[in-house]
Amino acid sequence: MTERPGETVVAPPAAEQGRVERAAARADDRPLLARVLDTGAGRNVGLVAVLVVLCVIGVATADTFATTSNLLTILTSASIIGVITVGVTMVIIGGGIDLSVGKLMALASVWATTVATQAYGPVVMVFCALAVGAGGGLVNGLLIAYGRIVPFIVTLATLISAQGLAERISGKRSQIVTDPTIAAIASTRVLGIPLLVYVFAAVVAVGWVVLNRTTFGRRTFAIGGNAEAARLAGLDVRRHTVLLYVVSGLCCGIAAIMIASLTTTGSSTHGTLYELDAIAAVIIGGTLLTGGRGTLVGSILGVLVFTTITNLFILNNLATEVQNIAKGLIIVAAVLFQSRAQRARS
């Protein structure tokens, strides 16, 4: 019986509060390892370890590995799939899945590089890529949220039809980027770092802030964790779902401009199997495929791990099939490690 009449609860002063979490951590009697693993960076300790091991192997086997230009090459290679992974991470945390990303990017790249679009200049090309990406995402979102079709099927259908549409528009040819501004994006460096890496960093930063510091992010976690509970708490689950897929599509649009510049083409062959690469990165980054839990940092580390593997293998002049074997093994190893760490934590 806890009738405590007259009791008033005073909110802790602003300065003190937020320290509540830390105080709770201090009072924590769990073993040190478990506590370290529970910190933000620690959640991805497995991936960081993998990345460190890869770098050690890199330095040991290839004398050019640790050069600035090689590291920037890795980052540039990671930038496009990285931008797409930001969107995919959000969708998966929100309880969905987006298989259409790779081909939505291809479609946006093709749409933005047709002769007609290029005639309007770079601004229209960028707008076109973003609009096609976001539009594809909107279609996904509407079909999923209001058409009540499962995301796997909707986005699979979008993947297939985006591929077809991209082939149709491009006539199955690579469309050369003739616009000098767009073509220059990939070769522009600011303070010695390629522009694409800045774009990548900016998208990741915005994605991180949105996921962790905004109501949008919090709703994403809530809906992914328990959509029914979120709905009964008054959240507009359907509208939010649509927005998530639009965000993912927008990331594809950004990636489309990046790949058009990097390869100097718009092509329906771009982004083949990117959806699986992105999902693999999200999984090894510790995001639950069932939604509700996950970290963007983990996904990005996942992307970097995969890109570094590719780089390592090429530096050592090894064949691609060996790369794929290594990637598969790393997915399994990372997930195993992660689930062990999770158990140690709880």
Binding site: M1, Q17, G18, V20, E228, L232
Partner: protein, 509 residues
């Protein structure tokens, strides 16, 4: 039939089970003899679930001895326990909804020859088992998911029998059943015990234990505090004292302020095709209105439709005179309504998220500026309101799943307290909540009403409705059949109204 002299079928001595940071079992003793219904009592967190899992082979005890039919045993895995003859029917039934009844009964040991299943033998044997349980009307070929909760439970029992279980553990079997289904359950249990099967029965409903139990073992804080008490002869007050140190089962705080005159919620002619029709009632500020009815009577559906979680096909819901858009929870929440849903885990909470994020969920915008969450205001507000409700442990950053059922319910209530809602809809607010936390929740609901909140309460437990509500609506078959002040009703009268016109025990459709 109590077997004080008979050799026990099962003997557990000094069972200890340690989890990281918790000593879940700290020396539990339990004796069960063949043919008895042995009730296991204890508050949430007393160790009942852990004990069942040890018995079922899902956990291995750190210390202590289990003797089965006089021999010391150690069940390395659930299969070992099943093979020995111990079957467990969990609260969340572990059946496969897509398979047929017969396939579920024999799941894992299907009658087969050379790897080929034998459907006709399967169905025949399932039919025999169902008949033995007094339910020959359940068709063995029917898809399991299409049976009622009660039907599924019977299938679970048939499965236990199909494995020739000598001991069946039932974890809160009545939680999902309504009154006449419970009667059926008890009949089945009696038939089983008459055949010499022992049943370990777990329930929060003490009156059930008086009806069905032979002996009672009480757990508290991981220890056995009383064992082998006679179920029919031990006074309820004594059992409650053993469990809690308290002396009463339901403690309702006294009514303080009478309801005010202002009508807050006005439901007029509300209907939903196939579920209920023409439901009208009003709730005044500070008033608690109870909806009494059986599971399936439409009471939860009415509540969810008022809230907008289901879209009304007729009628209107007005909050302080303003009509709410049908089928929009968002509109209802904005207007000042809150719901504590029936299924806390699946409908109410983000189990993996910390307490404070569960509390602030509907109020996110209040802690944000232009969409960006503002530092600690949210945590502070949630900490304040959870502290006010005495949510334990008092750490709002703990994941909700680590809290007990009662405290989880308080988190849901804290959410609407923070929202300062004008209308609070409570659907089974004390289901799965132990006795102590129940009283706190009752006190809280009263306190909210005293502050002017209009409360609508749905509960299967008639004493709860009568003790808490000012006015009671009796719902039967999708219609309000009676309305009266709680003070003019008693338990028998309400039960009579609720059941009127229902089939007599035994002749089910």
């Amino acid at each position: 039939m109590t077997g004080d002299g008979a050799p026990p079928l099962l003997e557990m001595r000094g069972i200890v089970k340690q989890f990281p940071g918790v000593r879940a079992l700290d020396g539990v003793d339990l004796d069960v003899v063949a043919g008895e219904v042995h009730c296991l009592l204890g508050q949430n967190g007393a160790g009942k679930s852990t004990l069942i899992k040890v018995l079922a082979g899902a956990h291995r005890p750190d210390a202590g001895e289990v003797r089965w039919e006089g021999r010391a045993v150690e069940f390395a895995a659930p299969q070992a326990a099943v093979q020995a003859g111990i079957a467990t029917i969990y609260q969340e039934l572990d059946l496969v909804p897509g398979l047929s009844v017969a396939e579920n009964v024999f799941l894992g040991h299907e009658p087969a020859r050379l790897g080929f299943t034998r459907p006709r033998e399967l169905e025949a044997r399932a039919r025999a088992l169902l008949a033995r349980l007094g339910h020959p009307e359940i068709p063995p070929g029917r898809e399991l998911g299409r049976l009622s909760a009660a039907g599924q439970q019977v299938v679970s029992m048939a499965r236990a029998l199909s494995r020739r279980a000598r001991l069946i553990v039932m974890d809160e079997p009545s939680a999902v059943l309504d009154a006449d289904e419970v009667d059926n359950l008890f009949r089945v249990v009696r038939e089983l015990t008459a055949d010499g099967v022992a049943v370990v029965y777990i329930s929060h409903r003490l009156e059930e234990i008086r009806r069905i139990g032979d002996r009672v073992t009480v757990l508290k804080d991981g220890r056995t505090v009383a064992r082998g008490l006679s179920a029919p002869r031990t006074p309820t007050a004594e059992v409650i004292r053993l469990m809690t140190g308290r002396t009463l089962e339901y403690v309702f705080p006294p009514r303080t302020a009478p309801p005010r005159d202002e009508v807050v919620l006005d439901v007029a002619g509300l209907g939903r095709r196939g579920e209920f029709a023409d439901v009208s009632f009003t709730v005044r500020a500070g008033e608690i209105v109870g909806l009494a009815g059986l599971v399936g009577s439409g009471r939860s559906e009415i509540l969810e439709t008022v809230y907008g979680a289901r879209k009304a096909t007729a009628g209107s819901v007005r909050l302080r005179g303003r009509a709410l858009r049908p089928g929009s929870v968002k509109a209802a929440v904005r207007a000042g309504m809150g719901l504590a849903p029936e299924e806390r885990k699946s409908q109410g909470l983000l189990m993996a998220e910390p307490v404070y994020r569960n509390v602030s969920l509907p109020a996110l915008d209040r802690f944000a500026r232009a969409g960006f969450m503002r530092g600690g205001a949210e945590l502070a507000a949630a900490a304040a309101v959870t502290a006010q409700l005495d949510v334990r442990p008092a750490d709002p950053t703990r994941p909700v799943r680590t809290l007990s059922g009662g405290n989880q319910q308080k988190v849901v209530l804290a959410r609407w307290l923070l929202e300062e809602c004008a209308v609070l809809l409570l659907d089974e607010p004390t289901r799965g909540v132990d006795v102590g936390a129940r009283s706190e929740i009752y006190a809280l609901v009263r306190q909210l009403a005293a502050q002017g909140v209009a409360v609508v309460l749905v509960s299967s437990e008639v004493p709860e409705v009568l003790g808490l509500a000012d006015r009671v609506l009796v719902v039967r078959e999708g219609a309000v059949v009676h309305e009266a002040p709680a003070a003019e009703l008693d338990e028998a009268r309400v039960l009579d109204l609720v059941m009127e016109g229902r089939a007599v025990e035994g002749s089910r459709p």
